[in-house]
Symmetry: C2
């Protein structure tokens, strides 16, 4: 239904939280989980995943925890989602090996692949920094949020 999983949400929240606390050398999974009421063990797995993908640096032992591997500005939402949920394709029938074998006529996926790229581009343009900054509730509630021009 075209929505992020909770895991991806949690991952973004956690990174945002880390971005907001640059002074601390490391925050434990439990710290972050408690701050948001997220199941600690689940968040731990998510953080481990992001560590393995190079988005975080981890440190075991007392006073250990996680810290951003790069600057918040240098980590995109796309990378986070990719790390947690794996590569996404808007079409069910993805490209590559065994795609639409049963339906060789799935001609729909070619134009949608471009939509897919567009969405990926948008997500790539959003950094953790962006998430962390947008605290102010200002934003004059304009309906015209985000101007998009898609060239088919």
């Amino acid at each position: 239904m075209l929505k992020l999983t909770k895991k991806a949400d949690y991952g973004l929240i956690a990174l945002k939280y880390l971005a907001e606390h640059p002074e601390t050398p490391a925050l434990s999974a439990k710290d972050i989980a408690d701050a948001y009421g997220i199941p600690a063990q689940l968040l731990a797995k998510i953080l481990q995943l992001m560590t393995k993908k190079g988005l975080l640096r981890s440190h075991a032992g007392m006073n250990g925890g996680y810290a951003l591997a790069r600057e918040a500005r240098e980590i995109s939402a796309y990378e986070v989602i990719l790390a947690i949920d794996g590569p996404f394709f808007i079409t069910s029938c993805t490209k590559g090996a065994k795609s639409c074998e049963l339906t060789p006529s799935c001609t729909i996926k070619e134009p949608l692949a471009r939509v897919n790229d567009t969405i990926a581009g948008v997500l790539k343009s959003i950094s953790i920094q962006d998430l962390a900054e947008h605290e102010q509730p200002g934003m004059p509630a304009n309906g015209a949020a985000g101007l998009v021009s898609l060239r088919l």
Copy 2:
């Protein structure tokens, strides 16, 4: 994982097929299902759904079937997805009534709501006509597919 459901895929495929056969007064669910190897009864339900939402016109009886309620150019992919999968929100915690009660600090969803709007805008800009037209495999495989400018 940010992908369309098969139902939405089927719906788009069916509409595209109808758009490609404007001469026929109506095509039955079975006709379309057979053409693509889609489970007929499932497709029937999807077509019924789209009929109820006003995207299709149905006609029972012999030589009955479905036809586009509007011109292919006037039906957007967004409407189709909306009709089949319901309203989508990229964030798990949607706005409105009972959103992030447990985690009042889900500050992440506000910036992502804009991403959501952007994606919706892209989907709104794609019409069934667009899907039907892109048959030619030309498309010089340029990586720079779709230029997006997102204003946060």
